[in-house]
């Protein structure tokens, strides 16, 4: 799988996970979390809590996608059947995904639930993501209408059903030291 860290091309972000995972949380690993985007899994008795960090809301969506893809067997952290590694499949057609408007936390949860659905029903996970419209970063990251995300990705050999859903439990997006931090708990 090809990897580019911090690649930016007309707002397009590659979401492949290699090299982007940050072990530990912003609180206990400030050396790793400062001045960069990333994600981390935080222990939860029965589920999985995801912490995200990025300079913009678009970066949070990218990190959320990267974290989600990391759960797919054959990708970082997975130990099951390999995903289809064909380059043609990895560079599929761009598609537009629409998320319901809402506050930043619910849009982020909606984005992850979109990925849950697509991975399970269409066996599709994103490799590149671009936030197109619907978010005003100046207005506390509130969406200003349906949020449009452009993405392309790859097809998995099998449906990915590990994640049942992203929940609103403790879901939050907040600004801290010039960056955005977010937290979402997944039911797995």
């Amino acid at each position: 799988m090809r990897t580019r860290r911090g690649a930016r091309r007309s707002g397009v972000q590659r979401v492949e996970p290699v090299g982007r995972r940050v072990e530990g949380t912003p609180g206990d690993r400030p050396d790793l979390w400062s001045n960069r985007s990333g994600y981390a899994w935080v222990d939860h008795t029965s589920e999985a809590t995801l912490r995200l960090r990025g300079p913009t809301f678009a970066a949070l969506l990218e990190e959320a996608a990267r974290a989600f893809v990391s759960l797919v067997p054959g990708h970082l952290g997975g130990d099951g059947p390999e995903a289809d590694d064909d380059d043609d499949a990895a560079s599929g057609a761009w598609r537009e995904l629409t998320l319901e408007e809402g506050d930043a936390a619910s849009v982020l949860v909606g984005w992850l639930n979109e990925l849950v659905y697509l991975a399970e029903v269409e066996r599709w996970v994103p490799t590149e993501v671009a936030l197109e419209a619907g978010v005003d970063e100046q207005e506390d990251v509130m969406s200003t209408g349906p949020v449009r995300v452009r993405a392309r990705g790859r097809t998995l050999e099998q449906p990915f059903v590990l994640v049942k859903a992203a929940t609103l439990h403790g879901a939050k997006v907040r600004s801290r030291s010039g960056h955005l931090e977010a937290e979402v708990t997944l039911d797995i």
């Binding site: 899994w41 222990d43 939860h44 008795t45 029965s46 589920e47 999985a48 067997p73 997975g78 130990d79 099951g80 059947p81 319901e100 809402g102 506050d103 936390a105 619910s106 949860v109 909606g110 639930n113 849950v116 659905y117 399970e120 029903v121 998995l156 050999e157 099998q158 449906p159 990915f160 059903v161 590990l162 049942k164 859903a165 929940t167 609103l168 439990h169 403790g170 879901a171 708990t185 039911d187 797995i188």
Partner: protein
């Protein structure tokens, strides 16, 4: 957004011990609590339950509109999202709410036990091929769907008729229906309230196990605690039984996703303020409340059909591997993630059980006729390889927990911590050394479900019995495991 942060002293500090198996956090603990929070636990389980956010979550449940009597946590309780896992709460059916998060994403996740007349000694070297056949016949793991695929018309019949539809398809018997909670069909299902996305996710998943803590186990009855009750349930020491644990798969997950999102947006309209957005709810009698109930009932019926189709596959595997005369009788099937309208304290209540099992006593009219002398069967599986308990509900459980008991041993540590403590290969080796045949597609899943990640099921069940919620009938040991 209508949420409120929780601050101040921790609930455990405000709790008082009411009896040896019951703790209570008074309704005065927080100004927004409407009823007390009650936790069934002994000292050791209390210490475990109070280490994560289970108690905060239970206190939050005690604030919901229309909540009545108390919010309960069963002895296996642990932190969830919104409701704690192992949580029970009831809301006035006229003035109270229904909360999708109080049911959970895996709507009607549940457990059923099939009982054979076969002694484990007679299984001999057919155990391994049997477990192999089960793993081949029951799609499991992260990516495998069902051999069945249903069009919309067939899905609608599953939603509205539940397991009755499978009698017509030759995958269930009339006796199966009698021994399934609610006859395998929760009234009130409304297919029109199940979204296209939910249908898409469930369409090819009927008869599949899924991943996580779901399983099919071949077990052996090892000990009888109550001989009369065991005879009534048809359990004998040494006999082989099969335990099936799964739910409504992606269909139920999507139903919950759809309605949590919708109700979250509707909170201001209903004037409801919540301490946790995942508790999003609506008055049961409102349009969104009724819509969710209709969709949830449809998903519940899908789940009962799912376990029934798996039972059909298990019976077929027994016939092929053990012999054509190997019969498997359904002892009972119970839900542990569901909301049902029931009569308690002389009025209709919408009882939410999230990781909790109904445990009706002998006197309750919904206890199956065959079990009226002993009570409704309750199954409490232990951690992987630990074996399970068969209990029967007590009449007193109605007053003590709205007729509920716990649903398992309950996790005591995160999946990450479980993986850090023991590699999946070691877990597999330890089980194999005990003679247990294991089929699991993922070592990671095995590590996450390792026995040390759960509470001690013996202790959990002891508290259930001492608290008067249900009483022990039999304990089983594990012969073979097929993991999701």
């Amino acid at each position: 957004m209508s949420t409120r942060a929780t601050t101040g002293p921790r609930p455990a500090e405000a709790a008082r011990r009411v009896s040896e198996t019951l703790y209570e956090i008074p309704s005065t603990f927080r100004a927004d609590m409407k009823v007390p929070a009650r936790i069934y636990a002994d000292e050791r389980l209390w210490a475990q339950i109070s280490t994560d956010r289970s108690l905060d979550q239970l206190v939050n449940v005690a604030t919901l509109p229309g909540v009545t009597r108390a919010a309960y946590a069963m002895p296996d309780a642990h932190e969830g999202y919104g409701f704690p896992v192992g949580g029970v709460a009831a809301f006035d059916a006229e003035s109270g709410v229904i909360s999708p998060g109080g049911v959970g994403y895996d709507i009607n996740c549940g457990v059923r036990m099939l009982v054979s007349g076969l002694h484990s000694d007679d299984l001999g070297d057919r155990l391994e091929p049997l477990v192999h056949e089960l793993s081949r016949g029951i799609p499991s793991g992260m990516g495998r769907g069902s051999h069945l695929s249903l069009d919309d018309a067939a899905l609608d019949r599953v939603f509205t008729e539940g397991c009755r539809y499978l009698v017509e398809r030759g995958m269930a018997t009339r006796e199966d229906l009698e021994h399934t909670e609610s006859g395998g069909c929760l009234p009130g299902a409304d297919p029109a309230r199940v979204s296209r996305r939910a249908r898409d996710r469930g369409r090819s998943q009927l008869g599949s196990m899924g991943s996580g803590n779901h399983f099919v186990e071949v077990e052996r009855v090892e000990r009888i605690f109550d001989q009369d009750a065991a005879e009534t349930l048809g359990l004998e020491v040494g006999h082989v039984v099969v335990l099936i644990h799964t739910g409504s798969r992606g269909l139920g997950h999507q139903v919950c996703t759809d309605y949590v999102s919708g109700m979250d947006k509707g909170m201001p309209e209903h004037g409801i303020t919540l301490p946790d957005r995942q508790l999003a709810c609506a008055p049961l009698q409102s349009a969104p409340g009724q819509a969710y109930f209709g969709a949830m009932a449809a998903a519940a019926n899908f789940a009962w059909c799912n376990r029934q189709v798996i039972s059909h596959v298990v019976r077929d595997a027994f016939h092929r591997v053990v012999g054509a005369d190997a019969e498997l009788r359904l002892l009972y099937d119970v839900a542990h993630n569901i909301a049902k309208v029931e009569e308690h304290d002389g009025r209709a209540l919408c009882v939410h059980r999230k990781g909790a099992t109904r445990a009706l006593g002998p006197s309750h009219p919904e206890t199956p006729a065959a079990y009226r002398s002993v009570g409704q069967p309750v199954f409490i599986p232990g951690s992987m390889g630990a074996g399970s308990y068969v209990l029967v509900g007590e009449d007193a459980s109605l007053e003590r927990s709205f007729g509920s008991a716990c649903h398992g041993a309950g996790r005591s540590m995160s999946r990450g911590e479980a993986r850090r403590r023991q590699h999946g290969g070691e877990v597999r080796r330890a089980l194999t050394e005990r003679g247990i045949v294991v089929r699991c597609p993922s070592l990671k899943e095995l590590a996450e479900e390792a026995p040390h990640a759960y509470k001690d099921v013996d202790q959990v069940v002891e508290v259930v019995e001492r608290a008067g919620l249900a009483r022990r009938v039999a304990r089983t040991g594990v012969l073979g495991v097929v993991k999701g």
